[in-house]
Subunit: 129 residues, 2 copies
DNA sequence: TCCAGTATTCGGCAACTATGAACTTAGCCG
DNA sequence: CGGCTAAGTTCATAGTTGCCGAATACTGGA
C-alpha cells in the first residue's frame, strides 16, 4: 500500500533541516498551504524550496495538491502522530495513565490509538494514552 | 546556559540516522546502557559508534557516564519530551486552524507551549502530563 | 500562437559519514 | 612495580550525500 508507514528515521531526517522544519510549521497552520507563499517567507531560492518540499513529501509528511498552475500542501497529521507515538514509547512520561512500561514490548501496529481519540471530533480531546 | 535547550532540528538530525535511532531505542530500554553492547548489536565499527554517540550526546539526547574503563549511556527523556511537545503543537488534534499565522511570531521557550495554548480559552486540549 | 508565471530537473561544490591506524586511559597479572 | 591487554576516542582520508544556482518543462491567459 502507498500507506506504508515511512520509517521513523526518514521522517526525522525530513524534519532535521531548519528550512523544512519551518515549512512544516507553516503548512501546519492551514488546511491548504500555497507553495508560492514559501518563496516570500523563506530565505532560500525556488529550486531549494522544491527540493525540500519533495523530501517532505517523500517522507510522507505533507501531501501535494495541484490546482491550476499552483501547488498546495497539507500536513499529514496522522504521520506526525505516529512519530510522536514512537518517541513517546521511549519517554513514557512521569506518570501517564497507569501501566508505565507495561506495553513497551508490544509491537506497535502503527494503528495510532491516539488518532482514534482525536477523530472523535468534538471540541474536546482528552489524551490519556 | 550549559543547559541550553538544543534546537528541535538538531534533535531530529540526531534521530534521523538509522544507527542512532537504533542506539536510542536500545539505550531507552535500560537505565544505564553499556557502550560495549553496541559493538555487538550494531553492524558498524567502533569508531563509527563513537561518532554517533557523540552526535547523540551533543544533541542532548543521551548522557555519558564513565565507570572504570567502561562507558554507560542513559537517555535524556526530558529532552525527548520537549521535542514531542513541539511536534504535538503541529498536530494538536482539535482546533485546526483558528487564527492562521497570528501566533507564529510568539517565541516558543519550550516551556510548556502546548499547555499554554490550550489553557487559554474555549475549546480545550487537555494534556495529562 | 506567443508570453508570463510557476515549479522541477541538471551539474558542481560543500558537508557529512564510515573506517583503519594510532593514541589515551584503566585494570590485570607476572 | 612495570609491562600487557582491553575499552573507546581522536585523526586523517575516501566515498557518499545534501544543497543551491542556472537552465528547462508545464500551465494558463492575451
Amino acid at each position: 500500500m502507498s500507506q506504508e508507514p515511512v520509517a521513523a528515521t526518514e521522517v526525522f531526517k525530513a524534519l532535521a533541516d531548519p528550512i523544512r522544519w519551518n515549512i512544516v510549521q507553516q503548512v501546519a497552520q492551514q488546511e491548504e498551504f500555497a507553495c508560492s507563499i514559501l518563496e516570500d517567507t523563506l530565505p532560500v531560492s525556488k529550486p531549494t524550496i522544491s527540493y525540500h518540499t519533495k523530501i517532505l513529501t517523500q517522507a510522507g509528511l505533507i501531501e501535494v495538491h495541484k490546482r491550476g498552475r499552483n501547488y498546495f500542501y497539507s500536513l499529514r497529521r496522522d504521520v506526525l502522530r505516529e512519530v510522536i507515538n514512537e518517541l513517546w514509547a521511549l519517554a513514557p512520561g512521569p506518570r501517564l495513565v497507569g501501566e508505565s512500561t507495561a506495553d513497551r514490548g508490544a509491537k506497535r501496529p502503527a494503528q495510532a490509538p491516539v488518532a482514534a481519540a482525536a477523530s472523535g471530533d468534538t471540541d474536546v480531546t482528552l489524551l490519556t494514552w
